[in-house]
Amino acid sequence: LVWVHAFRRADEAAIVRVLRDGPQIHPDETNDTRVYEGRLGIAPNRVYAYVGRTLETFGENALVLPPAAVRGGHLTPFDTGGTIRKIRPIDDFPDPEKAAYVAAFTWTLPEDLAACLETYPTGDATRLAAYLDTAKPDGRGPGDLWPGKPDAAIWEQNTDWRAWTWEGRAEPHHLAIDQLRHWTCSPSVANGVFATAKRLYGATDRPFLLRLTKTYLEGGVGSMLLRLRKDQAA
């Protein structure tokens, strides 16, 4: 399963920089992600992705990395930020208990990746397809799959797929952005992105320009998700 990072940027140059240099830590300390990291004890700051898919409806830009491009970081079978905002019942827990719950369901990348995915969604084609389709798994919560871990009914009590989708988080330097597999943006913006990339790096980084061109998927995030679902389910 691939690493899918959706992002929003103010202009084409900023999009180009993400695609060339990789996602970066939000510079604003008051940004929600950085505040939540503090409350959950996640340090140092990370960049985030979902494994296999991303936001289920609409987005502007997204990039896809193969598993081999993630050389460090952690993995959790739900959206950690969601434990602060809306994943019940964890969102009602005091912060130290939230942090303990997240820590209990945190594994290390890349060494634990295969075992994690073998446990959930498993190699079974039907279960994998269900995962990619954001179907809610059977059971009360991830404690059903990992005995001995804290038991909370986060699957039973939530309807948002982020309660049962793997979140990956890594420090920016752990992501090999030169292994970019796909990226997408709104079709009306794409030509501007290419032109900007050429203006910025035409003279200095032609391998990047070729990579950018070859990995572009037209149609936006929804189309990319459709393609990823087919590729990964196969």
């Binding site: 009306s188 929804g222 998700l225």
Partner: protein, 649 residues
Amino acid sequence: MAATVLGYEGNRDARSLVSWGAAAILVDGDLVNGASGMHRPHDEEEFRQLTREGTISALESPIILKQYRNADRPLVVELALTFVDEAGIKDVVPRKGLRGSSHERGFQVYVFADLDAFNAYRSQVATRVVQKLLDLQDETEGAIVELRERLLHAGLTLHAHDGVLNALQAFYEDAFGEDRTFALEMAKARVRDPLEQRQLECVHRALLAAEAALQAAAGAPPDPNGDHAYVLQYREGVADSGGLALRDAAHIVGSANRVDGFAGEETVRRFPFLRSPPSTQLQAISTGSAKLHFVPTIAGEPFSDRVARYLNLTVLQDIIDGKLGEAVEQRATAQVVKALQTVVQPSPQTVVEHRPIDASEYTRIEPETLWDDDGRPQPKGAEYSEPLVLLGYQSGLLQDWGKLEINIFPGTRIRLASDRDRDGNEPMGIDALKQRNDFLFRPTLFTLVRQRLASGRRKYWLQQVRPVAAYLKSAVITAIPSTFVHDAFVYRLDLAIGLRGDGHVLHIRESGGDTVAELEVASLELSGAQKWMRAFQSVCENLEISDFRSSRLGPVFMPSPTALERVLVVLQEADGPLDRDAISQRIREQFRPDVHVDVWTVVRKHTSHFTVDDGEVSLTLRGAQIARAYLAVERRSASARKASRTSEP
């Protein structure tokens, strides 16, 4: 169900003349992404927020879709009316799959049913944009440059992977003095389809040649011996005196003219943006050295004509070289085929060489396609199967009875000529069929011959067509498609077939023997045909796994075995159960050392094929039957390949 398109995914860039994206659809209170199909409860405030953030572009006037199914993948396209006007596409209307449209804020809005429908429309638009850009190439005003950039930008926004638009993009960058090689490399990287990539390269060369012709000295005639000319040279045979007799020269040139007419049609088919290529320019005939010189561009012509002339000549040289044998087979008349034979082989003793455009060396023409005395194509390495009588139904009629579309198995549709069989005669039964108005979806026996073309592709010829009726002595199925290997057949069967029960039961029995199947023919409509065809598939599957007396006809191209097939084969050929590591090891030994198969995944996914006992896997009865059926085809295919190799010179 009814649905409403509220907008589309993505940011409508205020500077852009064209925007498009997956439809944002309101269905039963849910907001649905038209591409991924994902739902979420619709929240108006959230929708407005997504619109403000540029994640969704909202339509001022939502468009109601009268018919919508969950499997639909609609998308929205907005074209600025200024673009519609400047590109001259007012008359380009979607031919199919249009689900809704409107005008708003100076934009034309279309909702297409799916990507296929959108692709058809944007190809039409891209063709017009290319025509306009080529026409503009002869204009020199400053404003033209801006118009050209606008049109190209809009065209590429609509169709980022179009080969010709990307060729133009690379060409303009050339013209701006940038690195030509890199510009072309970038353009090729944007185009994904191999055919479009070849088209891009052809058109790019044509654009450069047309540009070079313009830059050449005004009015100076092109050098017929220059590298850009296409030269045909004859030696021995009709040219054994070192030159050509006028009569032979006239015969060859006349034939070349006829072939050129066909090349013109083929050029427009391959490059739809060309209106009509000018007749190929024969610059010189050197009767002394028996050479014909054709030039690809003429300086004084409009730019678009120069491009067309160049492309036409490349198509002509490919036809002469035999590279377009399939096109000749399918579309050329007998007269064109004869003329082509005259050009490439005016007499058996004549050696014909040519020097393609931009090449420096002459190469001997050894066309991949040869023709017999009747002008019938006989591709080298062609193989014909024996006639196969298959049960199926006709599902379509194309080109006013020029072609039939038939179904011989679920998911297997074949389009084939209805006006000639493999020997050039009208297939038997076609005339009678034309008299009926109830031929569609009716159980029918089709006698087909499968041909393996030199290109490695396959082609079917219709020999006879015969709707199934009450029992007739000769109504017999002799072949069934393989359930396990696409394009393979079990044949030399002898299954009598007829309709019973007032035409509502398709009865199949071994000739003179037991009933094999009774299939209900619920109706003579598509749904009825699909139903009995599915039932027939299960009959075929049972026959294939139980009858090994009949012969197997392997596919024209045997695909690499799937993970399941590898595991089945290894276990079938093993003496007993094997554990996972042993299966993996044998797969690597038997197939390829670098092949990795996740054995447990395969075994868990196909529980009816395998049993697991104490970590060891063995085949169930059904698994063993399928393995045998697969191996029967695979071995037939391997022996056919071996025979084909040993028969090669």
